[in-house]
Amino acid sequence: MSSTMTGAAAPAAGVEAGPALEIRGLSKTFPIGGLFSRKAVRALHDVDLSLGRGEIVALVGESGSGKSTLARCVARLEKPSAGEILLDGVDVLKRDRFQASREYRSQLQMVFQDPFGSLNPAHRIEHFLRRSLAIHGKAGTAAAAQARLEELMATVGLQPDMLNSYPHELSGGQRQRVAIARALAVEPQVILADEPTSMLDVSVRIGILNLMRKLRDEQGISMLYITHDLASARYLADRTAVMFAGELVEEGESLDLLANPAHPYTQLLVSAVPDPARAGSYDPVRRAELRAAVMSPASCAFDGDPEQPCSAEHPVRHRVGAPENRHWVRCHLYRPAAGSAGHALAEAKVS
């Protein structure tokens, strides 16, 4: 079933045919309860997702939906239960069976939510960047390394004299820029950014998003931008994928997806984005009605319990709108009429 979409995907302009990163059938199960409990949380189920070269893909969804687990599996901080991770076409789980190789880590880097936790307070900024260069053999001569450090600082929009600062002397936004510079030091092809702005101040957030956009445009780096903020996904990402209870339920070109959300869950997400136009007139009754409609067991059984099957028959992907939007949804509501059944991917019934 993982193949239904690949054939239909039209490469976006300027994106080379082969994706930089391709995730196939990725699953992850965590045991819960006690030592002897057989209960498990299905954090990821059969996820297919690809990142084109120089493309930013946003992964959106509620907390607990499995976004971080996906990133952690791809960064190999967590061992997937099943699936393939192809970087540049190479299956990295087969190549480096037990842990990420240095080579892998110099191709793919992760930026975390908390820029405070990831920088040891005892060291100057210079230390983090220099170590990154050294570990990955990118340091070169002393002069070259110094020039590279200053270049990295400039790239992320920081003054070179900040290399001598300690993390606590920097603001949250500046620390996140350092974390990004550290990731860039190894010249990765892919950056996974897990909610990189959610702990930062509003004004600084836009700056970080603009920096990510610049890295895509100027260095062709592919990025997975994990967020629960749909507005920022729309602002930054070429494509957006929606995760619900460990599964991707919809994916498409960002503007198209947010303008025409097809999956009931995506519709709910979009409708929940705060809208200043509703100032002071927020109506919980209307919200409750909307929720009830979306969550009604008659049409949808997703109730936030990952163990609850979506319905007796697992829905497959169906195309939404024009093929160039690469917009699909996984939902029975978009099943083609009985006569034309048998195609996993079919034109959406527009309701």
Binding site: E62, S63, S203, A231, R234, Y235, D275, P276, G280, P284
Partner: protein
Amino acid sequence: MTVSQVSFGTHEAVLEVKDLTVKYVGDTRSTTAVDRVSFSIGTGEIFGLAGESGCGKSTIANSLMRLLKHPARISGGSIRFGGKDVLAMSPEELRRFRWQDVAMVFQSAMNSLNPVLTIGEQITDIYTTHAGYSRKESLRRAGELLELVRINPVRLKSYPHQLSGGMRQRAVIAMAVALKPSLLILDEPTTALDVVVQQEIMAQIKELQHELGFSVLFITHDMSLMVELSHRMAVMYGGRIVETAKAADIHTNPQHPYTQALMGAFPPLTGPRVPLTGLPDGVKFRNIPDLAEVSPGHYVAPFGAELLETGALEGATR
């Protein structure tokens, strides 16, 4: 008829803060974190306090709860709750005041759960100690409370580390409303939460508020959320309030340049992609004067070129 119209009918202040000044006293120098701040919150009103980190929002919240610790010191002003002087309360009065009259959800609350007790044990505790319910009744209510914030009651048996951050935060918010306080202080309660939960929690709070008539002090730096949910709001900068008005007025007609820049930092959900810049680096306002009423109910701190540091607001988009 929406809840907001109902609850906004009477403006009988439940909380009145006047000229509150709070300092963090150091050996060599002290910081004035909150500087002559005044506002009031009406019965059933949702009052928003916006502003970027470090502007003094949490210090205000902690002052209201009398939770300030050394080296913080309230050096001026008054806080009255339901007519009572909060700053003069005895320890016994404070014990009842906290959590039963006023409850607070802290910024990092999701990390404040006890790691060695299950979620169920922690919620049940609240009901048995503060409300005197039986264990069985407490457990039943604990399950209901979790459902209220869309957590499957099987999670009563989970330990905090077994829940995602969002679930932990939802559990904490549920615990805060457990005793139905008359003022709920939410200090950036949704910073780590997704929109659906955020909306549902706020909808839930509004429903409860409609029923019980409690008030909310809602602290956030998410202007979109604040404008949508608050009746009135204040924007803080460097310990001062720079603007306060009905939320709708702040949205449609922000007056202070700082408010304008803050409103401009949110990407829209419709229309073309427009580059945004947020607040440019190096903007500083100093010596912010007292608020002046520019139109009925809309107060703005007067500002002029001399109040801005160089570089000012160029590039800030609206």
